[in-house]
């Protein structure tokens, strides 16, 4: 078997054995149960309060808001998951010396990195499939509402978690797990506040303010990908009406998504290089 696949399988198996998957599964199901109950109760309230002939558009507007709230939470959980599982992996194995018997086998160090990356990418895909799939299905089965461009939106959320995971992996090839965790969440915070600055800038038609946001997205493109995902999935009307916490006014362009992909690839290449050259 190819050594990259051996490491990928090992990474995946480790997450299962160490109960990371089980914990995520149990809490994920709890999340979905609460979300579904919430949707159920809210729909009941709306049908009592609102006049029966509430127009179709306004109703789907409300449902879109609820769906986006669910997906936004899941996005945050996915990137937290991405950072947590990958921050300790290289740092921890270098620190404990576990890595020594692995890299002295006839394998490339970059194979070890790529294997871990693939293992984590698989885990994140499963997690996102469960969580986002659960939220979308829960909404769809109860209300028959499906937001537009769901597949593209979920794909973008997946890309966001991959960017986070790759950056954490890169930092973990050089720094300790704690430093890595601190750094990636710090970067995320920076991009998050930058994103809001950009939203306000857009409302106030202030080009300079928008630039601040764009620069922060260039430093760490995670939040920008979410805004693009939200834009893809939001109902046509909310884009016109204005701002909600889960929708986007200043929409990152397709170019920003291309940038994010390149950003992740460069981070992965840097991980190869750092890990291949460092003393273990």
């Amino acid at each position: 078997m190819n050594s990259t696949l051996i490491i990928a399988r090992l990474t995946f198996r480790e997450a299962v054995r160490r109960r990371i998957v089980l914990t995520a599964l149990i809490l994920g199901v709890c999340f979905l149960v609460i979300y579904s109950i919430g949707i159920h109760l809210i729909i009941g309230q709306i049908s009592q309060v609102a006049p029966p002939a509430l127009n179709q558009g306004a109703q789907s507007e409300g449902l879109n808001f609820l769906l986006m709230a669910g997906l936004y939470t899941i996005t945050f959980l996915s990137i937290a998951m991405a950072a947590l599982i990958s921050a300790d992996t290289l740092a921890g194995e270098i620190n404990s010396g576990t890595i020594q018997t692995v890299v002295t086998k006839p394998v490339r160090r970059s194979d070890v990195v790529l294997g871990k990356w693939l293992g984590f990418a698989g885990l994140l895909a499963l997690y996102l499939l469960l969580m986002a799939g659960g939220v979308i299905l829960s909404m769809g089965l109860q209300t028959k509402y499906f937001a537009p461009n769901l597949l593209r939106g979920i794909g973008l959320i997946y890309l966001e978690s991959l960017v986070m995971m790759t950056v954490a992996l890169m930092l973990s090839s050089r720094f300790s797990a704690l430093a890595t965790g601190g750094a990636v969440f710090g970067l995320y915070g920076l991009a998050f506040i930058g994103g809001w600055v950009e939203q306000f800038g857009s409302l106030m038609h202030s080009q300079t303010t928008i630039y601040v946001g764009i620069v922060s997205s260039l430093i760490f493109p995670c939040e920008a990908i979410w805004r693009r995902a939200a834009f893809e999935m939001q109902s046509p009307l909310s884009g016109v009406l204005g701002m909600s916490p889960f929708s986007a006014i200043s929409v990152p362009s397709g170019l920003m998504i291309v940038y994010a992909v390149i950003y992740a690839l460069v981070a992965l290449a840097l991980t190869f290089s750092i890990f291949s050259h460092r003393d273990l």
Partner: protein, 304 residues
Amino acid sequence: MTFAIETNQLRKVFGDNAAVKSLTLQVQPGEVFGFLGPNGAGKTTSIKMLLSLIAPTSGGASLLGAPLGDRTVRSRIGFLPEHFRFHDWLSAEEFLALHGRLYGMSDQGLRQRINELLEMVGLAPFRNKQLRTFSKGMLQRIGLAQALLNNPDLVFLDEPTSGLDPVGRRLVRDIIHDLRRKGTCVFLNSHLLSEIEVTCDRVAFIKHGEVIQVVELKTLEDVKASVTIRAKGMSSETIAGLSQWGQDVRVDDEHISMAIANEMALPDITRYLVAQGADVFAVTPQRLSLEELFIQIVGTDGSL
């Protein structure tokens, strides 16, 4: 001829500190080579350089004829690190299977090899137990099995008996003897002089990352030895006559001790004493122990 290990002025500097100053040595294929030195002499750093875990600052080396860092030659090399930790959530069998696959071994051959090795290190009853439940001694044994999975031509053992009880040490010694019989070259880094003494063909003494002396242990008995003789009825002329075979003749009642050039002198000494009419009860050669040699070569300040 191709050496199993050949290094040429290998050097590693961490900041201002030269952990290994200039390591030059040659290890023959099939020999058991001891690497001996005080704490901080650069032993582990040297091994790590040879295994490409750390990059040398300067100098060069080759393993089994291939330059450092050659990936394909690693399938013929085994390694048991010092202070190792493994993926402790794996069972003994899964652990060996993982490392066997990393060596590129086929599943079929691997299964058989794992059974052999678990049997050899006495862990067959624990094959399905997770490594986290293992004692330090058991981990050392499974680590050793890991280093031998690929039937290597060259094995690096960094302190293989640390954490082992006497039975475990005996086991390691037997395994090393077995490896030598099969023609495997063993590079043994150990603090335990007695262990090096009984297992190694040659030993390099290193200090501050330099080889101070390489000694052939088989010939240790030919170099400097001493002898203790218990005999009665010796005249002072008889005793004086002993000095033709050695120096430092000391007499304490019926015990005589003296330094001799080599053991070949013993039969002559015995014949001489008998011919002089002495009653000889014992002639006991005292080999210079590796410990004495170590202190002589490396000095007592070595660990500072």
